[in-house]
């Protein structure tokens, strides 16, 4: 390991913190940072990122479950599509050039960022507690108040999860960057529940790909360990802090992240 372990741990902590706040694994930040800033080979960076995503997802889920923010049945349903997408990702990868992939990905994120920014003031929750949340919906406690939310446009959520799974398989991310905005903007899920449910799912998505990288021997163990060790406390802190951050600020932060990552992907393609 050429990089100092402390620097890697700090990197893991920072990406884990932001990841846990927004329901992402942090892979979208880690892979470019490791490859571009530290010169780590792409396969080793992706492998380390996948392990860090698992650490972030697992640690933040313990906090989110305790807070009752995770919609486990919704997560499980979308995981079916995500895992299928993961398998499909490797097939699609052969059909598209890397440049086309980056362009499609960058454009998608840009559009999603715009939608999140425009919708930052609207809320998905229903205040009437007599409304039945349906089989997949649920209740959300916010301070003293309880809200109901219903899941809308499930097929769209499933397609988004399929795409997220495919991108995860291609680029070594958790796929939360696709799932959280779609669940929040189109499927009627409150942002905190979207983030917590996404975080719950991405560990499984990343685990599926990580076995392959591990089996191929692509994992640089000391580097991966240092990053994961930073991601654990970082994501625990992020998940604990999430309720202190206003809903609106969370959406704006998400829009900002989408724009930055989208622009970076598009620039790689051009």
């Amino acid at each position: 390991m050429n990089e100092p372990p402390l620097l890697l741990a700090l990197l893991g902590a920072a990406t884990g913190l932001v990841g846990a706040l927004l329901g992402l694994g942090g892979g979208v930040f880690l892979v470019p940072l490791l490859t571009l800033a530290l010169g780590v080979p792409i396969r080793a960076a992706v492998a380390a990122s996948l392990i860090s995503v698992i650490a972030t997802a697992s640690a933040s889920s313990t906090v989110n479950l305790e807070k009752g923010l995770v919609n486990m049945r919704l997560g499980m349903t979308l995981e079916v599509a995500t895992t299928l997408g993961g398998l499909a990702g490797s097939i699609i990868a052969a059909l598209l050039t890397q440049r086309q992939l980056f362009l499609i990905f960058g454009a998608t994120l840009g559009v999603m960022g715009a939608i999140m920014a425009l919708r930052s003031g609207t809320r998905n929750v229903i205040e009437d507690l007599d409304v039945h949340p349906g089989r997949l919906g649920g209740r959300l406690q916010e301070g003293e108040r309880t809200f109901v939310y219903r899941v809308r446009r499930l097929p769209l959520g499933l397609v988004a999860s399929l795409v997220a799974g495919a991108i995860s398989g291609l680029l070594g991310l958790g796929g939360g960057i696709i799932k959280v905005p779609v669940l929040n903007a189109f499927c009627g899920i409150p942002i905190r529940v979207s983030a917590a449910t996404s975080a719950f799912m991405i560990g499984v998505t990343a685990a599926a790909s990580s076995f392959i990288y591990f089996g191929r021997g692509d994992m640089a163990l000391p580097m991966t360990a240092a990053i994961a060790l930073g991601a654990l406390p970082g994501s625990l802190l992020g998940a604990r802090l999430s309720h202190k951050v206003e809903t609106r600020s969370l959406k704006i932060l998400m829009a900002f992240v989408l724009f930055i990552v989208g622009a970076q992907m598009a620039m790689k393609a051009l």
Binding site: I51, S58, E66, G215, L221
Partner: protein, 90 residues
């Protein structure tokens, strides 16, 4: 309906915290001692933590007689198992 669901959430919390805690300790001692074996076990345990989570959820859903979601969960478990199978045979 609510109580068994809550119990299931607690069981999953325990599985996740256990996996995270033990693998974290293994990774830390592996880095300090410079031991490849400890690092390897820590990473493998961390990779298996989401699998354990899906396993607990699958068992819990069948126990709750929620066969639809139980079957979905079983599918995810099967995909994960096939991933492990492939990685062992690479």
């Amino acid at each position: 309906m609510k109580d068994p669901s809550l119990r299931l959430e607690r069981a999953i919390e325990v599985a996740l915290s256990g996996g995270v805690l033990v693998s974290g300790l293994l990774l830390l001692s592996g880095l300090v001692a410079g031991s490849h074996g400890l690092l390897r076990s820590g990473v493998v345990l961390l990779m298996l933590t989401p699998v354990a989570r899906v396993l607990v959820l699958t068992l819990g859903l069948f126990h709750e007689r929620d066969f639809l979601f139980g079957a979905l969960s079983l599918w995810v478990l099967a995909v994960l198992a096939s991933g492990i199978w492939v990685s062992v045979h690479l």
